[in-house]
C-alpha cells in the first residue's frame, strides 16, 4: 500500500497537486489560526470532577475568595507621615478605579470608641499621622490596641502593613492585578512591596509561563534546526522537514478555532514539542531517500525510501499520537485540549512528511547527499558489543530497573505551593512575608450551611472558631461572628453574639455591601465560611492541622444541638462555649489561663444565680441617666440621677411611686419615660452585674489581669462574653440544620494530588497498552513488539525512580511526563527494530550494522534535539515548565541510550522476515 502511494505521489502532476493542496490547506488553516482565542484562566487547570476541588471552587466563587489581591508593605515605621500619605493616596486611587470594588487598609479602616459622656464616636482609625514623635507614639498605641486590625492590617510587630483590594464584579483578573501592581509600584520601591492573593498568583503563573515560552521557544526551535542541519547538512532538506512540521502546527491551531477550543498555557509549548518530535518524520524519509538516491534514479529512490521507512514513520507517529491522546483520560480540560490538538498537529505533520515532503522533492527535483555514516559505525561497534554480551546487558538492565522501581515508590504526589513557584518568585516572596509578619499565608476554610441569622448557630460558629484557634499551628481565625459582635458593641455596648434573630438581622443590614463581610457570609445568610490561618509551611504539620480541623469541626457541629437541651447537657455546652471564649481572650491578651477554667465555669453555671448587688445596678443606671442617651435629661445633677436610679431598681409594683417620690412632682410623661428606662436598661444592668461577678470569680480561680488599659480591655471583653452565662436560654433554631465541611488550599492540594495520581495511572495505562498492542501488530511479533517497548518501560522506570530519589513531586506538570516519554521515546526503538527486521529480511550480511547505519544518526539527532529543545524551557522562571522541560530532556537521552542498549540485547537472532506494513 505504501509503495502504491509512493508511486502515485511521485508522478509530477500528482506531486504538484499535493503541493498546491497543502499550500491551500496551510493558508486556510493559518488564516483561521489568527482567530484563536487565548484562555488565561489558571483555575481551568483544576480537576473539576474531584469532590475537594469542586467544593473549593464553589466556596471561593460564592465568597469571592479568589478576587482579593493582597499588597504587603514592609517598613520600620508604617505610621511614618510620608509613608502613610502614600498609603492613603494608594487606597484612595484604588477605590476610585473601576477595576477595584473596594480597597481596605489602615488608611481607611473605620473605628469606633465610646464617648466620655455616653454614646460612640465613629471615624477613621487613622485620619492623619502627627508630625511629632509623641503624637506618633500615641497613634501607634491606639492602632495596636485594636485586635481586629492587628494581625490583619498591621503586623503585630508593627513593621508591616497590608492593603486588601477586592476586584470589581466581572473585572478581568489580569487587568485588575496589573492595575493594582502598577499603582503600588508607582508609589513604593519594589523591594519593600509584596504582592499576594489569587489574582496576583494566577496572573504570575500565566504571565511567567507565557513570557518564558515567548522568550525560549525561538531558541528551542533554533537549537532543533541547528541539530538537524549539523546532522544532515542539507539546507533544503532541513527547511522541508520544518515546513512539514509548521503545517502541523498551523493545522492544529486552525482545528482549534473550527471546533471552538481556546489556546491555553500548556498548548503554548506545542511548537517546541512539534518541532522536536514532528520534524523527525520528514527527516527519516529524506535521509533514506538521500542514501538511496546516491545509487538509484531519483524517482525510484523516492519510491523505495517511502516504501522502506513509510510504515515505520507512520508507526512512530502513531505511537506518539497515542501517547498524546492518552491525555483524554485526564480530568483537567486544558490538558485534554493539549493532548487532542498536539496529537492532531503530530498527525498533520506526519501526513505532510509522507506526502508533502516527497511531492516537494519531485516538484523541485531535490537531491541531497547521503548521510555521513561515520558516527553510526562507532555506534555499530557498541551495539554489537551489547549483542555479544546480551546476558550481562539484560542482567544490568533488570538490576537498574529494580533499583529504579524501588525509588518509584517514593514519588510523592503531595502538592503544595512549591510545585508552582520558584523560591524567588513574587508569590513565594509574598508567602514568606505573610508568614513572617502576619502569622501565615495558608488558610484552611470551614464552610457551613445553616441559618446564620440564628444566634444559636452563630454561637456554635464562635465555639468552633475558639476551639480551632487553640490548635498549635493556627495563628488566627476569621468569621462573621466577630464582625457581628463588634457591631453589637457599637449598638448595644456588648461585644458578643446578639441574643435575638431580630438583632442579628438588623446588624446584617448595617453591613450590607461590604466586600470583607461578603467573604464571610452569603447575602441570604444561608452559608458562611471561616478562614483558619496556619502558621507553618511544613507539609506534615499542615496535614496534621488539617486532620485536627476536620475532627474538631465534625465534633463541634455534631455537639452543637446540645445547646438546645434545657438540662445538664445544655449547661455543659454553655460552659464549654464560655470557656472557649475566655481561653481565646486570655491568650490574645497574653494572660495565663487557669488550669480548670472550663470546670470552674461549669460549676458556677450549675449554681443558682446569686442575688444581684444593688450598688452596681445603681451605678449603671446613674451613669445612663447622666448620659446624653437617656430619655430624661438630668444634665450634670448626679445626686438627682442617683436618687432616680435607686427608685428604678425597686420592684415593679413600687417603682412608679418611688420615681414620684424621688423627683417630687414630675410630669406624667417623665414618669412614663423613666418606667421605659427601667424596662429596657435595668435588665442590661442586672446581667452585667452578674457577669462582673463571674469575672471576679475567674480572678479568684487564678486568672490574672495585666495592668493599665490592656487589663481593662480584657475585663470588659470577658464581662461582655460572660453576660451569656446568665442570659435566658435564647432560641436555638437552626442548629439541627447546621452542616459544615473543611476546604481551603490544603484540601485543594489534596484534591490536586489525587487528580495527578489518577491522571498518571489512567494515561499511563492507556498509552502503554495501546503502544504495546500497536508495536506487536506493526512487527507482527509479540516478542519484537515487547522488545521495542522495553526501552520506553526502562525510561519510565528510570525517570520516575530519579524523581523519587531527588524528591521531585508528581504534579499537574510532571503527570504529563509519562505520556510524553511513551509518545516520543518509543520512536527510537521502533526505527531500530524496524530497520533490523528489514535488514534481516533483505538478507543483509550484517543486519546489525545495516540497521544502526540506517537509523543511528536519525535517532541520536532526534534525541539530542528534543533534549535541547526541552532543556531550554528549564531556563525560564515558570516552575512547571522547568520540571517538565528538564525531565523530558533527560528522558529523551535515556530513551535513546536504552534503545541501543536494550533492543540489541533482546532482539532475536532471526526475526519474522515480513516487513512491518501498517497498510
Amino acid at each position: 500500500m505504501m509503495r502504491a502511494l509512493a508511486e502515485w505521489l511521485t508522478r509530477p502532476r500528482n506531486a504538484r497537486a499535493v503541493v498546491v493542496l497543502f499550500a491551500a490547506v496551510s493558508v486556510v488553516a493559518g488564516w483561521a489560526a489568527t482567530a484563536v482565542d487565548h484562555d488565561d484562566d489558571v483555575l481551568a487547570f483544576l480537576p473539576q470532577d474531584d469532590a475537594d476541588v469542586a467544593a473549593f471552587n464553589a466556596i471561593n466563587r460564592a465568597f469571592g475568595g479568589l478576587d482579593v489581591a493582597i499588597v504587603g508593605l514592609e517598613a520600620d515605621n508604617p505610621l511614618d507621615p510620608e509613608l502613610f500619605r502614600k498609603l492613603q493616596d494608594l487606597t484612595q486611587t484604588l477605590n476610585d478605579a473601576p477595576e477595584v470594588k473596594f480597597a481596605l487598609s489602615l488608611a481607611n479602616v473605620t473605628d469606633f470608641q465610646p464617648l466620655p459622656d455616653g454614646g460612640i464616636e465613629t471615624g477613621l482609625l487613622v485620619r492623619d499621622v502627627p508630625e511629632d514623635l509623641e503624637g506618633q507614639r500615641r497613634l501607634r498605641q491606639k492602632v495596636m490596641s485594636r485586635d481586629l486590625v492587628v494581625g490583619q492590617l498591621i503586623a503585630p510587630s508593627g513593621k508591616a502593613v497590608i492593603l486588601y483590594a477586592f476586584a470589581a464584579y466581572g473585572a478581568d483578573q489580569r487587568t485588575f492585578a496589573n492595575k493594582v501592581r502598577r499603582e503600588v509600584l508607582d508609589r513604593f520601591p519594589p523591594r519593600s512591596v509584596y504582592l499576594g492573593g489569587a489574582p496576583f498568583v494566577a496572573t504570575y503563573i500565566y504571565d511567567s509561563t507565557q513570557a518564558d515560552l515567548r522568550r525560549l521557544t525561538p531558541w528551542a526551535v533554533a537549537a532543533i534546526v541547528l541539530f538537524v542541519f549539523v546532522a544532515f547538512r542539507d539546507l533544503r532538506g532541513v527547511v522541508l522537514a520544518l515546513v512539514a512540521t509548521s503545517i502541523g502546527i498551523v493545522v492544529a491551531l486552525g482545528l482549534m478555532v473550527l471546533t471552538g477550543h481556546r489556546y491555553n498555557i500548556v498548548l503554548s509549548s506545542m511548537p517546541v514539542i512539534l518541532f522536536s518530535v514532528g520534524s523527525a518524520y520528514g527527516i527519516h524519509v529524506l535521509a533514506r531517500y538521500y542514501a538511496l538516491a546516491a545509487q538509484w534514479e531519483p524517482r525510484a529512490a523516492l519510491i523505495e525510501a517511502l516504501t522502506q521507512v513509510g510504515p515505520t514513520v507512520l508507526a512512530a507517529g502513531g505511537t506518539t499520537m497515542v501517547g498524546l491522546l492518552s491525555f483524554l483520560t485526564m480530568d483537567i480540560a486544558p490538558l485534554r485540549s493539549f493532548g487532542l490538538f498536539t496529537a492532531a498537529g503530530i498527525g498533520a505533520a506526519l501526513v505532510a512528511s509522507l506526502t508533502f515532503v516527497p511531492a516537494t522533492v519531485v516538484v523541485f527535483g531535490i537531491r541531497g547527499r547521503p548521510v555521513d555514516t561515520e558516527a553510526p559505525s562507532r555506534l555499530t561497534a557498541v551495539v554489537k558489543a551489547v549483542e555479544r554480551h546480551r546476558g550481562w546487558m539484560i542482567a544490568v538492565l533488570v538490576v537498574a530497573s529494580v533499583v529504579g522501581a524501588m525509588f518509584v515508590a517514593r514519588v510523592d504526589t503531595r502538592m503544595d505551593q512549591s510545585a508552582f513557584f520558584a523560591p524567588k518568585s513574587p508569590p513565594a516572596r509574598a508567602d514568606r512575608f505573610l508568614r513572617r509578619h502576619f502569622g501565615g499565608a495558608l488558610f484552611i476554610q470551614v464552610h457551613a450551611e445553616g441559618d446564620f441569622n440564628s444566634p444559636a448557630v452563630l454561637r456554635a460558629w464562635f465555639s468552633l472558631a475558639d476551639r480551632l484557634e487553640a490548635l498549635p499551628h493556627v495563628s488566627s481565625v476569621q468569621h462573621v461572628g466577630q464582625v457581628l459582635a463588634q457591631l453589637n458593641a457599637a449598638l448595644a455596648a456588648e461585644r458578643r453574639v446578639p441574643d435575638t434573630v431580630a438583632q442579628v438581622k438588623l446588624l446584617y443590614r448595617f453591613l450590607a455591601g461590604m466586600p470583607a463581610v461578603d467573604q464571610l457570609v452569603t447575602p441570604d445568610r444561608r452559608q458562611a465560611v471561616m478562614h483558619v490561618k496556619v502558621n507553618t509551611a511544613d507539609l506534615d504539620t499542615i496535614d496534621e492541622t488539617l486532620a485536627a480541623v476536620e475532627a474538631i469541626t465534625s465534633d463541634t457541629v455534631r455537639g452543637a444541638t446540645a445547646a438546645t437541651d434545657p438540662g445538664p447537657a445544655g449547661r455543659r455546652w454553655r460552659g464549654r462555649y464560655l470557656a472557649g471564649r475566655v481561653a481565646v481572650l486570655a491568650r490574645r491578651a497574653d494572660v495565663p489561663l487557669p488550669a480548670r477554667v472550663e470546670d470552674d465555669l461549669a460549676f458556677v453555671l450549675a449554681q443558682a444565680p446569686p442575688p444581684a448587688k444593688t450598688e452596681p445596678l445603681i451605678d449603671h443606671l446613674t451613669q445612663h441617666l447622666s448620659s446624653p442617651e437617656s430619655l430624661v435629661d438630668f444634665g450634670t445633677d448626679l445626686p438627682r440621677s442617683r436618687r432616680v436610679a435607686s427608685a428604678l431598681i425597686q420592684d415593679a409594683e413600687r417603682r412608679e411611686a418611688a420615681i414620684i417620690e424621688a423627683l417630687g412632682d414630675p410630669d406624667p410623661e417623665t414618669v412614663d419615660d423613666l418606667l421605659f428606662v427601667a424596662d429596657t436598661v435595668l435588665p442590661v444592668a442586672r446581667r452585667r452585674a452578674v457577669a462582673d461577678g463571674l469575672v471576679d470569680a475567674l480572678r479568684q480561680h487564678g486568672l490574672t489581669f495585666p495592668g493599665g488599659a490592656a487589663g481593662e480591655r480584657l475585663r470588659s471583653r470577658l464581662r461582655d462574653e460572660l453576660v451569656f452565662a446568665r442570659a435566658e436560654l435564647p432560641p436555638t433554631e437552626g442548629l439541627e440544620r447546621l452542616e459544615a465541611q473543611v476546604s481551603g488550599l490544603p484540601v485543594l492540594h489534596r484534591g490536586l494530588s489525587r487528580s495527578a495520581r489518577q491522571n498518571q495511572v489512567a494515561s499511563l495505562a492507556v498509552a502503554l497498552s495501546a503502544v504495546v498492542v500497536l508495536l506487536c501488530v506493526l512487527f507482527r511479533s509479540v516478542r519484537l513488539g515487547l522488545t521495542a517497548a522495553v526501552p520506553t518501560l526502562f525510561t519510565l522506570t528510570a525517570m520516575y525512580g530519579a524523581m523519587g530519589a531527588l524528591g521531585v513531586h508528581l504534579d499537574i506538570g510532571t503527570s504529563m511526563l509519562a505520556s510524553l516519554i511513551i509518545g516520543a521515546g518509543v520512536d527510537y526503538a521502533v526505527h531500530l527494530v524496524a530497520a533490523y527486521q528489514a535488514a534481516v529480511s533483505s538478507g543483509a550480511s550484517d543486519p546489525v550494522a545495516a540497521s544502526v547505519s540506517a537509523t543511528g544518526t536519525a535517532i541520536w539527532t532526534n534525541a539530542l534535539m528534543v533534549a535541547a529543545g526541552f532543556y531550554l524551557l528549564t531556563l525560564g522562571e515558570a516552575r512547571t515548565l522547568q520540571n517538565v522541560g528538564g525531565l523530558t530532556a533527560t528522558a529523551m537521552v535515556v530513551a535513546a541510550v536504552s534503545t541501543f542498549w536494550a533492543v540489541p540485547a533482546l532482539w532475536p537472532r532471526s526475526v519474522n522476515t515480513r516487513r512491518p506494513d501498517v497498510g
Binding site: V68, P98, T110, Q152, A492, K505, R509, L511, Q519, H531
Partner: protein, 258 residues
C-alpha cells in the same frame, strides 16, 4: 482578607438634604455666581418637609435591594425612619445638629448617640455617602464657572475652594434656566476622573417648592452600581411639630407623616 465594620447610620438622615429643594424665581442674570446662588436658593426653600421614599439599590452581580424610609426635616433637625424591609422597620435616626445624632433600633430597645466622622463610605451598601448627602449650599464650598449655556439649561463647573468641604473636588452641574433646579450632578476626583453621576428627574412642585420624584446616583468606579430614590409621598411646609424631633419620639413615638 480583613474584618472591619462601618457604622454610619446617621448618613441616612442626611438623605433629607438631597430632597430639600425649593423653587426660587427664574434668574435673568447669567454670571456663574448668580446661577449658583439661584441653585442654593432652589434647594433650600421649604420651612419643613416630609418625604416617603422607596430606595432601590442595584449592585453589579447582586439582587436588587429595596428599602423604605420616611424623612422629616425642619431647619437643622432631621428624623429618618425606616419602614422596610421588615428587619429594618422601626429603626430611626435623629439629627439635632452636626454633633448631636441619635440612633434607635427597636430590636435593641436602645437609643445610641453617635458622632460620625466617616463621610465617604456608602450608606448601607448604597452609592449615597454622608458627604454627598450633607451638602445643601454649594456656594459655601465651591467656586463656579459657567461651562455652557443652552436654550433652557446652564452647565456649571464647581471647583472646591481651598477651605471648602465639599464631597468632591470638582462637580459639573446641569440646571434648568426656568427654575434653577438641578437635573444632573457629575462628580470628579482630584485627577479629573468621573466618579459618580446623579440624576434628578420629574420635578413636582407645590406652591413655590419643588422636589424631584426620582433621584438616581450611579457609581462609575463600582461597575455602575446605582441607587435610586423614588418619592412615594411629599409634604412641604406642613407645620411639623417640634416633638417629632425628640429622643422620646425616637424611642417611643409612632411617627407617621402620611
Amino acid at each position: 482578607m480583613s474584618i472591619q465594620t462601618r457604622f454610619n447610620i446617621p448618613t441616612c438622615a442626611l438623605l433629607a438634604a438631597v430632597a430639600a429643594t425649593g423653587l426660587a424665581s427664574p434668574a435673568h442674570a447669567v454670571d456663574a455666581n448668580t446661577i449658583l446662588e439661584g441653585l442654593d436658593d432652589a434647594l433650600n426653600g421649604a420651612k419643613d418637609q416630609y418625604f416617603w421614599y422607596e430606595m432601590l439599590d442595584q449592585q453589579p452581580g447582586k439582587d436588587l435591594r429595596t428599602l423604605g424610609l420616611e424623612v422629616y426635616m425642619k431647619g437643622e433637625k432631621r428624623l429618618t425612619a425606616f419602614t422596610a424591609p421588615a428587619d429594618l422597620a422601626g429603626t430611626k435616626v435623629l439629627i439635632l445638629s452636626s454633633t448631636r445624632m441619635y440612633v434607635y433600633a427597636p430590636a435593641f430597645q436602645k437609643i445610641r448617640r453617635v458622632a460620625s466622622h466617616v463621610t465617604k463610605q456608602g450608606f448601607m451598601g448604597t452609592t449615597y455617602t454622608e458627604s454627598l448627602l450633607a451638602i445643601s449650599r454649594y456656594a459655601e464650598h465651591y467656586t463656579p464657572k459657567l461651562l455652557e449655556e443652552k436654550d433652557d439649561q446652564w452647565v456649571l463647573e464647581l471647583n472646591e475652594k481651598p477651605d471648602g468641604e465639599g464631597p468632591y473636588p470638582r462637580i459639573r452641574v446641569t440646571l434648568q434656566k426656568k427654575d434653577f433646579l438641578p437635573t444632573e450632578f457629575v462628580y470628579f476626583n482630584e485627577e479629573g476622573k468621573k466618579m459618580k453621576t446623579e440624576e434628578r428627574m420629574d420635578y413636582q412642585c407645590k406652591k413655590n417648592i419643588c422636589a424631584p420624584e426620582t433621584m438616581k446616583l450611579t457609581d462609575h468606579t463600582d461597575g455602575d452600581h446605582w441607587t435610586k430614590l423614588v418619592q412615594k409621598e411629599w409634604k412641604p411646609n406642613s407645620g411639623l411639630p417640634n416633638r417629632i424631633f425628640t429622643k422620646r419620639n425616637l424611642a417611643r413615638g409612632n411617627t407617621r407623616g402620611r
